[in-house]
């Protein structure tokens, strides 16, 4: 039950943040849902805060990634082409892009 799953993505993989709307203790900010980025780093596995916050055990653990985005892809009018945004996102919020 509490066994961890292994990481599905590796650094460099292109990913899409799922466009989902559901209530609860969600750690994926709205402004990156539906946006494309890449895996910058694999942080390992952590208890899932979406259930932990309600008194659950947060198991099974979920892989957590540092995901990079080009700012110009996140915001319509972002000028500085090189600027980036990095966010920690759990695997169940990501799909291959």
């Amino acid at each position: 039950m509490g066994r961890a799953v292994s990481a599905r993505f590796k650094p460099g993989d292109r990913v899409l943040v799922k466009m989902e709307d559901r209530p609860g203790h969600i750690r994926t900010p709205w402004y990156v849902r539906g946006k494309r980025g890449w895996i910058e780093r694999v942080y390992g596995e952590f208890r899932n805060p979406e259930t932990l916050a309600y008194g659950g055990d947060g198991l099974p653990k979920r892989p957590l990634y540092l995901v990079g985005f080009e700012q110009s892809q996140v915001w319509n009018k972002y000028e500085a082409a090189k600027d980036k945004l990095f966010i920690d996102i759990y695997e169940h919020w990501l799909e291959p892009a």
Binding site: T28, P29, D83, D88, I89
Partner: protein, 351 residues
Amino acid sequence: MSDHAPHGGSHMHDFEAHVRAVEEDLEYYRAKRIEPRVFTFLRRGILSFGDLFDAAAGKPGTQNGDGEAKDMEQRIRALEDSLDDYVREIGLVTSSVGGNVDVVTEDTRVERGDYNEFFRLTRREYRGSLEERVAQLTADVERNRRVLDVLARALIKNGVLGEATLQKNREALKTAGPWHGGRIVARAWTDSDFKRRLVSEGRPALRELGIPPGRLGKLGVLENTESVHNVIVCTLCSCYPYDLLGDTPWWYKQDIYKKRIIADPRAILEEMFELKLPASMEVRVHDSTSDVRYMVIPRRPSGTDGMQEAELAKLVTIDSLIGAGEATAPAEVGHQKETPWGHPKPRPRDY
């Protein structure tokens, strides 16, 4: 006037900004941290109003009127120090509650109205002259500390909080604080192997400095260079390595900071922190949304060759640990200008 202020002798230039920061912090801790928690305890039957009144009756209020004539700067410093003590005590009490009491993050969020305006505690507005606001804030910090003290006593009485645990945690806390940030950065500036370990491993590398690695998850360390500038935010709440670096500056928890730093970092850094980044530099915003807490290693200022670690550590400001400022140049120590939001006060009390 006083040159023995514990902050490298830097003077306060903008009383208004300091007082406003205290107002923001105090309200945040009262309305978001402590009072909603009290409601949870009451609802669960962990405490009753009777318990709280009993605990309050057991101890008369402290009188802090030391009658000593102080100038405005000294009064504001004293207020900030008292607020710091309050904040530390909150961390201490809330982290020491244990046993079979199961109060989780979401309870506090619900109770303080994150999801429903109905629950939101009315924000207190401070009005009047600076003098009046400082007097009111000084009284309010004391009153809030008393609420916390009464809460702790009632929890001890009900066996929810152990005095031994409290004492143990109090000792551990004495060594935590923002000045750790200065020590960490100074070591990273002078020891590239340490820096490499710090950036790749995070907390475990801190043992080399005798700093307790803390409990709050993984530590992400971001190095600012000539070509890359990192800045940190937590848009969903206020994640920050508190246990390691102490409390954040007040603006870190403001919605306006959160909103603008993700979408227009260059503009807000320039307007609010007077930090203008060249177009050639890449700006990286890190939104700390989950289990990783971040700190920034600011660039080492020029003119610091040959300086000792302890001296270098004093150049590190709270803002620079977040990426909202640069480390102070040696020539500017004691003359730092205050920016609209900038908070040059590093509070390195233990040097």
